[in-house]
C-alpha cells in the first residue's frame, strides 16, 4: 500500500496579530484554504511556521487547532523538532494524544551529534509513541549533520513506525544514498523532499514534497506534482522553473518574504517574530511585481 504521506503537503505559516501573539481565527482560515486548494496533508509547525520562535505551550495549542479544523479530511502531522530533546519527546506524546496522524522530526539541533547519537535519538523517539514518524534530513542547515544510508537502513529494520524522510539536502548523491537504501528494504517508505523540488526527486522514487510557496500558488504546486508523476518532463521543467524562482524570491528572509507575498494574494497573516524581520512595504511591492511577471496573480486564488 502506498504511503499516505505523498503529493504536495502544506505546512501553514503561523498567523500573528500585530502584537505578535497567535492569531487563531486566521490560522483556522489558512488551514481551510490549504485543504480546499489541494493539499494532500497538513504538517505544522515547520521552520517556515517559525516553530523555533514559538513556545512549547503555543505549539501544543495550535497543533490541537490543526487537528480539530482539518477534522480528518487529510492527514495532519506535527513537526516536533525543538532545541531540547525532552521538549521533542513531550510534543510527540502530545501529538499522539490529540489524534494527529504522524510526526516529523529533524536530527537534533546545535550539538552536531554523532551518527550513534542520531540513531539513539530516533530509536527513543519512535519507541515512545505508536504514530508514524517521518525523519527530516537537512545537512546544509545543520553543519553537515545528516542521516546516512546505512543509518537509515538500521532504523527502518528496527522501527516499524519509521515510515519516511523529508530529504532536504537538494543533492543528487545524498538523496540517492538514502533512497536506494530505504526503498530496497520497504518500497512504501516515503521519500519526500522540501520546497517542491519534485522534478529531480520523483524519477528517483520520490513520492512528494513539502511546500514553500503553497500559500501563494497552490494550483502551480498541484500541476507540478501531476506533471512529474505522469513523466511529462518538458512540462514539469517549465513548472519547476517557475516554482523554483519563487523559492529564490522567498528564501531571502524566509518566511518574512512569504508572509509579505500572502498580503499581496489577499491572505494577510500578520508580522514575523524576531529575530526574523517583517517584510516592508517596498519588499511587498517587489514581490507583487515578481508574482505579476510570473502570471501568478492571474492563475492562483486571491483571498480566502
Amino acid at each position: 500500500m502506498p504511503s499516505k504521506f505523498r503529493g504536495v503537503m502544506q505546512s501553514p505559516v503561523t498567523p500573528l496579530k500585530d502584537d505578535f501573539s497567535l492569531d487563531l481565527p486566521t490560522f483556522e482560515k489558512l488551514l481551510d484554504f490549504h485543504v480546499r486548494t489541494g493539499a494532500t496533508a497538513i504538517s505544522w509547525p515547520h521552520h517556515k511556521s517559525e516553530s523555533l520562535n514559538l513556545t512549547i505551550a503555543e505549539r501544543k495549542r495550535f497543533a490541537e487547532a490543526a487537528v480539530r479544523v482539518v477534522n480528518g479530511r487529510i492527514p495532519v502531522t506535527i513537526h516536533v523538532s525543538a532545541l531540547a530533546v525532552e521538549d521533542t519527546m513531550a510534543l510527540a506524546r502530545h501529538a499522539q494524544e490529540i489524534g494527529a496522524d504522524g510526526i516529523l522530526a529533524i536530527t537534533p539541533y546545535f550539538w552536531t551529534p554523532s551518527l550513534e547519537a542520531i540513531e539513539a535519538y530516533f530509536m527513543r523517539l519512535c519507541r515512545s509513541i505508536a504514530l508514524p514518524v517521518l525523519s527530516y534530513n537537512s545537512p546544509s542547515y545543520l553543519a553537515g549533520v545528516e542521516i546516512t544510508g546505512e543509518l537509515m537502513a538500521r532504523l527502518i529494520e528496527r522501527l516499524p513506525n519509521f515510515v519516511g524522510v523529508k530529504e532536504a539536502s537538494f543533492n543528487s548523491e545524498k538523496f540517492l544514498e538514502i533512497s536506494r537504501a530505504a526503498l530496497a528494504m520497504r518500497d512504501d517508505f516515503a521519500m519526500l523532499t522540501g520546497v517542491e523540488y519534485l522534478l529531480p526527486s520523483v524519477p528517483l522514487g520520490g513520492v512528494g514534497s513539502y511546500s514553500a510557496a503553497g500559500s501563494i500558488c497552490p494550483n502551480l504546486c498541484a500541476q507540478l506534482f501531476d506533471a512529474c508523476t505522469a513523466g511529462d518532463w518538458p512540462r514539469a521543467r517549465e513548472l519547476q522553473a517557475k516554482v523554483s524562482w519563487l523559492w529564490l524570491l522567498f528564501r531571502d528572509q524566509y518566511p518574512s518574504s512569504l508572509k509579505g507575498g500572502m498580503v499581496m494574494m489577499g491572505r494577510p497573516v500578520g508580522p514575523t517574530r524576531a529575530p526574523l524581520p517583517t517584510a516592508t512595504r517596498e519588499r511587498q511591492a517587489y514581490i507583487e511585481s515578481e508574482l505579476a511577471r510570473l502570471g501568478i496573480l492571474d492563475t492562483e486564488p486571491h483571498g480566502w
Binding site: 548523491e173 545524498k174 540517492l176 522534478l199 529531480p200 524519477p203 528517483l204 522514487g205 519547476q240 522553473a241
Partner: protein
C-alpha cells in the same frame, strides 16, 4: 550579443586515467590501449586529463605532450576535450591556447586551485581562459573539491555576456537549486547552452535538462554507464532508476578511495594502469581485497568487459 550556437555536443564523455610505469613515468603504450578501450566501449567524447587522469600531478610540459600524443592517437575518431585547470590565470590561459593549437575540440576548466577566490576573481579567471581560445569553453563546478568555491548562475550570466564561446557547465555540485536556476536562465540567454553532469548521477540533472555526462566510472563499468546515459538522453527517467541506483552504489564504494581506488578497481577488471603518482598512495592489500569484495557484490558487474 552574438548568437553562438555550439555545434559541439559532448554527450557521454569518458575521462581516462593516466597509466604510469613502476618508475612513475607515463606508460604511452598502455595509454594508446586505454584510449582505444574507451573509444570501443561507448565514449562519445574523451576528456583529457581530468582529475581522474591526475592532471594536477603532470608537469606543464608533460601535460602538453600527453594531450598532443592523445589527439594524434585518437586521430579524429572522437572529439577530445582538453582539461586546462590551473591555479594561475595566465598559466591556464596558455594551456588553453596550446589545447586549441593541438587540435582539441573544446576545453574545460575548474575554478582556480587553492586561492578560494571570491566571485569577482572567479569571473576574471574564467573570462581570461575563455578569451584565449575560439573553441567551446566549459566550466567545471566542483565546490567539494575546491574548498567551497562555486560556479553560480549569476557568474554564468556574466560569462555569457563576456564570452561568445562559453558553452556550458560540467556540474559536480550535484545541487538541484543551482542546476534548476542555471537551466532556467542560461539556455534563454545562449541557445544551445549545455549542462553536463560531472559524475554518473544523471537522473536528476537529466530531468532538469542536462545533455551530457562526465563518467570516470566508464573505466570500470562502461556498459552500465552507457545504459544510464542512453535512458536519460531518451528521457526514460523512471526506467533509469534501477540502473542509477546500481551506479550510485559503485560510486559510493569508490569515491572515498579516490584515483588510487579507481586504478585498483581497473586492475580488478584486468585493465591494470599502474598506481597513482605521489602524493596519492596506492591502496594497501587489505583495502584492495575489500574493494574486490565490494565489486563482486555488485550484481551488474559480471556483464562488464574484463581486460582490454
Amino acid at each position: 550579443m552574438s548568437a553562438f550556437s555550439p555545434a559541439f555536443l559532448p554527450g557521454l564523455v569518458h575521462t581516462p586515467v593516466t597509466p604510469f610505469t613502476r618508475d612513475r613515468g607515463i606508460d604511452l603504450d598502455l595509454y594508446e590501449r586505454l584510449i582505444d578501450f574507451h573509444i570501443g566501449n561507448g565514449a562519445d567524447t574523451l576528456a583529457l586529463a581530468m582529475h581522474a587522469g591526475e592532471s594536477v600531478s603532470l608537469p606543464d610540459d608533460e601535460r602538453r605532450r600527453l594531450l598532443e600524443f592523445a589527439i594524434k592517437h585518437v586521430n579524429g575518431r572522437k572529439p577530445v576535450m582538453a582539461h586546462v585547470s590551473e591555479t594561475g590565470t595566465g598559466i591556464a590561459a596558455a594551456l588553453a591556447r596550446h589545447a586549441e593549437d593541438a587540435g582539441a575540440t573544446a576545453i574545460v576548466a575548474t575554478t582556480p586551485y587553492y586561492w578560494t577566490p571570491p566571485a569577482a576573481m572567479v569571473l576574471e579567471h574564467f573570462a581570461a581562459i575563455g578569451a584565449a581560445v575560439t573553441i567551446p569553453f566549459f566550466v567545471y563546478n566542483a565546490p567539494e573539491e575546491m574548498q567551497g568555491t562555486k560556479v553560480t548562475a549569476e557568474l554564468c550570466r556574466k560569462l555569457i555576456e563576456r564570452l561568445p564561446n562559453f558553452a556550458g557547465v560540467v556540474d559536480l555540485s550535484l545541487d538541484w537549486q543551482f542546476m534548476i536556476e542555471l537551466m532556467t536562465d542560461a539556455p534563454r540567454l545562449r541557445p544551445g547552452f549545455q549542462l553536463l553532469s560531472g559524475t554518473e548521477l544523471l537522473v536528476s540533472p537529466a530531468a532538469i535538462g542536462a545533455s551530457g555526462l562526465f563518467a570516470p566510472l566508464a573505466a570500470i563499468a562502461p556498459k552500465l554507464v552507457r545504459k544510464l546515459y542512453d535512458l536519460c538522453r531518451d528521457q526514460k527517467l523512471f526506467e533509469a532508476r534501477k540502473t542509477q541506483e546500481t551506479i550510485a552504489g559503485l560510486r559510493q564504494a569508490l569515491k572515498p578511495l579516490g584515483v588510487a581506488g579507481l586504478k585498483a578497481a581497473m586492475r580488478a577488471m584486468s585493465r591494470d594502469c599502474g598506481e597513482p603518482r605521489p602524493p596519492l598512495v596506492p591502496l594497501d592489500a587489505a583495502a584492495c581485497q575489500k574493494l574486490v569484495a565490494t565489486l563482486d557484490a555488485i550484481h551488474a558487474l559480471p556483464e562488464e568487459p574484463r581486460g582490454w
